[in-house]
C-alpha cells in the first residue's frame, strides 16, 4: 500500500515514526530535512501521485490548532480545527484537497503530544464548550490502523470537560473506537452520499452500505453519530435518488443516535477549481456552468435553494430541526457552517 516513506530528520527517532516504519518493512525510506521539500515543490502532478502516494512523516512546528471562522460552529460554540495529517486515502472528485495541495502524498505529523498540549491549552482558556474538528485536511479514520490517531486523541479528549471532538470520515476503520469506551462528546460524523454519487465521484471509498453498517456498530456501542449530507450533488433524477437515499439512511439508523446532521451543496474555491480542472479536464463535475460567489464556485442561488430546501424537508421527517444545520457556501472550503432551521 505504501512503498515510499519520506522521514523528516527531526522525527526520524520519534517513537511513532519508528513504529510506522517498522510496519512497512518493504518500503523504501528516504530522509529529508523538511517535508516541504517533497510536498510543496512545484511541477508535481496530484493526479499521477494519487495512483501511488507516499507517506511523509513530519513534525508540525506551529499553527497546529486553528480557529474556524468567527461566528460559525455547531450551536455557536467556539470551534477549532487541527490536522494531524494532510491528504486522504480516498479520491473524491469534489474534494478541495486535490486543488489545494500540489502533492497527493500523505503527510503525517507524528508529534501528537504537541497537538494535544495545544488542545488542552485552548480548552483551559475558557469554561465554555469548545469544538474541535479533525477531518478537515484528511479523513479522520481512514488511516487509523497506521496512524493510531484515535487511540491517542480520543482518550486525551475524554479528560477535557469542555472539549468536543468531531471525527469526520467516510471510513469503516472503526476498530479502535469499538474497542474503547464510548465518549458522549466525541461525535463520529460520517459523510454520506447516495450510492450512485459514491460510485461516480467518491473513488476508493467504502460504499454506502458499508458506511451505514459501521455507523450502526458505533451507535450500538454508544458513540454519538453525525451525518454530513455534504456535498449534495446535482445528479440526474435528484429527488428520487436522494429521497431513496435519505429513507435508506434512516431505515438503518435510529434518529435518536444522531447528534447532528449537516447539509451543504457542492462548492469549490475558484482557485482550487482551476487547478482541479487542469488535472481532470474530462471530469463532468467541473465542466458545467457554475456561479462564482466570494471566490467560490457553486450552483446558482435558485438551484442551491431548491436542493437544500428539498433535503431539509426530507430530513425533517426523521430529525428535529434543532439537530439539522446548513453548511454555508464559503471560499474557505468546507469548514464554515451556520445554523438554519428548515422552513
Amino acid at each position: 500500500m505504501i512503498d515510499t516513506i519520506y522521514v523528516e530528520d527531526a522525527v526520524a527517532k520519534h517513537r511513532r515514526s519508528r513504529e510506522i516504519i517498522a510496519r512497512f518493512k518493504n518500503a523504501r525510506i528516504v530522509e529529508c530535512r523538511h517535508y516541504g521539500e517533497v510536498f510543496n515543490r512545484r511541477q508535481q502532478n496530484f493526479r499521477l501521485q494519487k495512483t501511488r502516494p507516499a507517506l511523509i512523516l513530519a513534525r508540525k512546528i506551529n499553527r497546529r490548532v486553528l480557529p474556524i471562522p468567527a461566528g460559525y460552529g455547531i450551536d455557536g460554540a467556539r470551534g477549532y480545527y487541527f490536522s494531524h495529517m494532510l491528504n486522504c486515502l480516498y479520491d473524491c472528485r469534489y474534494c478541495f484537497l486535490q486543488g489545494m495541495f500540489r502533492s497527493a502524498h500523505y503527510v503525517l505529523f507524528v508529534n501528537y503530544e504537541d497537538f494535544i498540549a495545544d488542545i488542552e491549552r485552548v480548552c483551559g482558556e475558557t469554561r465554555e464548550d469548545v469544538w474541535f474538528f479533525s477531518g478537515y485536511d484528511c479523513d479522520s479514520l481512514a488511516l487509523d490502523p497506521v496512524t493510531g490517531f484515535v487511540g491517542d486523541f480520543v482518550p486525551a479528549f475524554a479528560k477535557l470537560k469542555n472539549a468536543w471532538l468531531e471525527l469526520r470520515t467516510k471510513s469503516t476503520q472503526i476498530r479502535s473506537l469499538i474497542g474503547m469506551k464510548a465518549h458522549s462528546r466525541v461525535v463520529c460524523a460520517f459523510s454520506l452520499s447516495p450510492q450512485p454519487v459514491v460510485a461516480t465521484l467518491e473513488h476508493r471509498t467504502p460504499d454506502l452500505d458499508a458506511r451505514l453498517e459501521a455507523m450502526q456498530r458505533l451507535a450500538d456501542c454508544g458513540w454519538p453519530l453525525g451525518i454530513r449530507f455534504d456535498p449534495l450533488i446535482l445528479i440526474e433524477d435528484f429527488e428520487r435518488i436522494y429521497g431513496e437515499f435519505i429513507d435508506t439512511v434512516f431505515s438503518r439508523l435510529d434518529g435518536s443516535t444522531i447528534h447532528s446532521a449537516t447539509v451543504g451543496t457542492f462548492r469549490m474555491p475558484s482557485t482550487f477549481a482551476k487547478a482541479i480542472t487542469r488535472l481532470y479536464p474530462e471530469e463532468p463535475l467541473y465542466a458545467g456552468r457554475f456561479v462564482e460567489r466570494n471566490g467560490s464556485l457553486g450552483y446558482t442561488e435558485d438551484t442551491i435553494g431548491d436542493m437544500v430546501t428539498w433535503t431539509l424537508e426530507r430530513l425533517g421527517q426523521y430529525l428535529p430541526p434543532k439537530r439539522i444545520f446548513v453548511q454555508a457556501p464559503s471560499s474557505k472550503g468546507g469548514m464554515t457552517r451556520r445554523r438554519e432551521r428548515p422552513s
Binding site: T4, Q43, N45, A54, T200, I235, P284, A287, G288
Partner: protein, 277 residues
C-alpha cells in the same frame, strides 16, 4: 485515448550513449551543438560532462521540437559508489547537490526495476565517496532543467555503478563504460516502459483535428486558443464525447464570435452528474 509521451534520454558521454542507441535502434539527427539521436518515440542527447551542460542539453532538446508537458526525461550514466559492486544499476530516489545544498526527490510511481538510492552531484570527479550515495556530475543539473519542462513524476535518474573504493574511477576507459551501460540496458528499457505507463494516466489531449480546423479558419490569439481548448474539453465532458464540437460556426466572422457562440452553447448543456448505468 491518452497522449503518447516522447522519452528523452540524456547521457553525458558518447560511450554512455552508444549502447543505448544501439539497443533502442536510434539514428543520429544532429551533431551541433549536441549530438542527438532519434527513434520511435525516443530521443537521446549527449550533453557533455557537468550539471551546466546537462541542463543545457535538456533545454536544447526540449526547445528544439517543442517539449510536451507529458514528455518523459531520463538521465542515464555512470556513477561512483563507495561499496556497491560495479555494474549495479541504481534508480534515484533522492538527488542532492552538496555544493548547492539542495535536494530533489524523484517520485517513483511504479515498481522500481532495480535498487533505489541517493545520487549526489558534484562539480568535480569524486573518488573519496563521502556518503552512501552514487556520486555523479550531472543529475542535479538534469533534474532542475527537466522538471521545468514536464511533470516531476516523469523525470528520473538511472545510474550504473562504474567505480568504488576497490576500483578507482581513473581506471575506467570508454570500452568499460560501454560494457557497464550495456549491462544496464534491461533496467533502462524496463524503466522507460514503466514511466510510460505512468504518463499514460495523464488526461487525454483535446481532439487536435477538430481544433486545428477552427484555429486555421479564424485568427485566434494564444489566450483565445486556450479558451477554445477548454470549451472543447467542457463540451466533451458534458456530452460524453457524443456530437461534434463546433459544427455550426458558419455565421461567425471572428474568433471572438466563435468563442462566444461555443461558450453559450456549452453553458447551456445541463449541469448534471450522471449516475453509472
Amino acid at each position: 485515448m491518452p497522449a503518447v509521451s516522447t522519452v528523452n534520454i540524456v547521457t553525458a558521454l558518447s560511450s554512455e550513449a552508444a549502447p543505448i542507441r544501439n539497443a533502442l535502434g536510434l539514428r543520429r539527427v544532429s551533431t551541433e551543438p549536441f549530438e542527438i539521436y532519434e527513434g520511435a518515440g525516443l530521443r537521446l542527447i549527449i550533453s557533455g560532462v557537468g550539471t551546466l551542460l546537462s541542463a543545457a542539453a535538456v533545454g536544447f532538446l526540449g526547445g528544439r521540437d517543442g517539449a510536451s508537458g507529458g514528455d518523459i526525461w531520463i538521465n542515464c550514466g555512470i556513477a561512483g559508489h563507495r561499496n556497491l559492486p560495479l555494474g549495479t544499476p541504481v534508480l534515484a530516489e533522492k538527488v542532492t547537490s552538496p555544493p548547492a545544498g539542495r535536494s530533489y526527490y524523484p517520485t517513483i510511481l511504479f515498481n522500481a526495476p532495480c535498487r533505489t538510492g541517493t545520487v549526489s552531484t558534484y562539480d568535480h570527479p569524486v573518488t573519496a565517496y563521502p556518503c552512501d550515495a552514487c556520486c555523479d556530475m550531472e543529475a542535479a543539473g538534469f533534474v532542475t532543467a527537466a522538471v521545468a519542462l514536464t511533470h516531476g513524476e516523469l523525470v528520473h535518474v538511472l545510474k550504473i555503478v562504474s567505480d568504488n573504493k576497490a576500483s578507482d574511477l581513473h581506471m575506467i576507459n570508454g570500452e568499460q563504460v560501454r560494457a557497464l551501460i550495456r549491462g544496464g540496458i534491461v533496467c533502462l528499457t524496463a524503466l522507460v516502459e514503466r514511466v510510460r505507463t505512468v504518463a499514460a494516466l495523464l488526461p487525454p489531449p483535446p481532439d487536435q483535428r477538430r481544433l486545428a480546423g477552427i484555429l486555421q479558419r479564424w485568427r485566434f490569439t494564444h489566450s483565445q486558443s486556450e479558451q477554445l481548448r477548454r470549451l472543447q474539453q467542457r463540451y466533451a465532458a458534458l456530452t460524453n464525447g457524443a456530437g461534434r464540437f463546433g459544427s455550426d460556426l458558419n455565421d461567425c466572422r471572428s474568433a471572438s464570435e466563435v468563442l462566444a457562440h461555443l461558450k453559450a452553447f456549452v453553458d447551456s448543456l445541463p449541469l448534471l452528474v450522471r449516475a453509472p448505468e
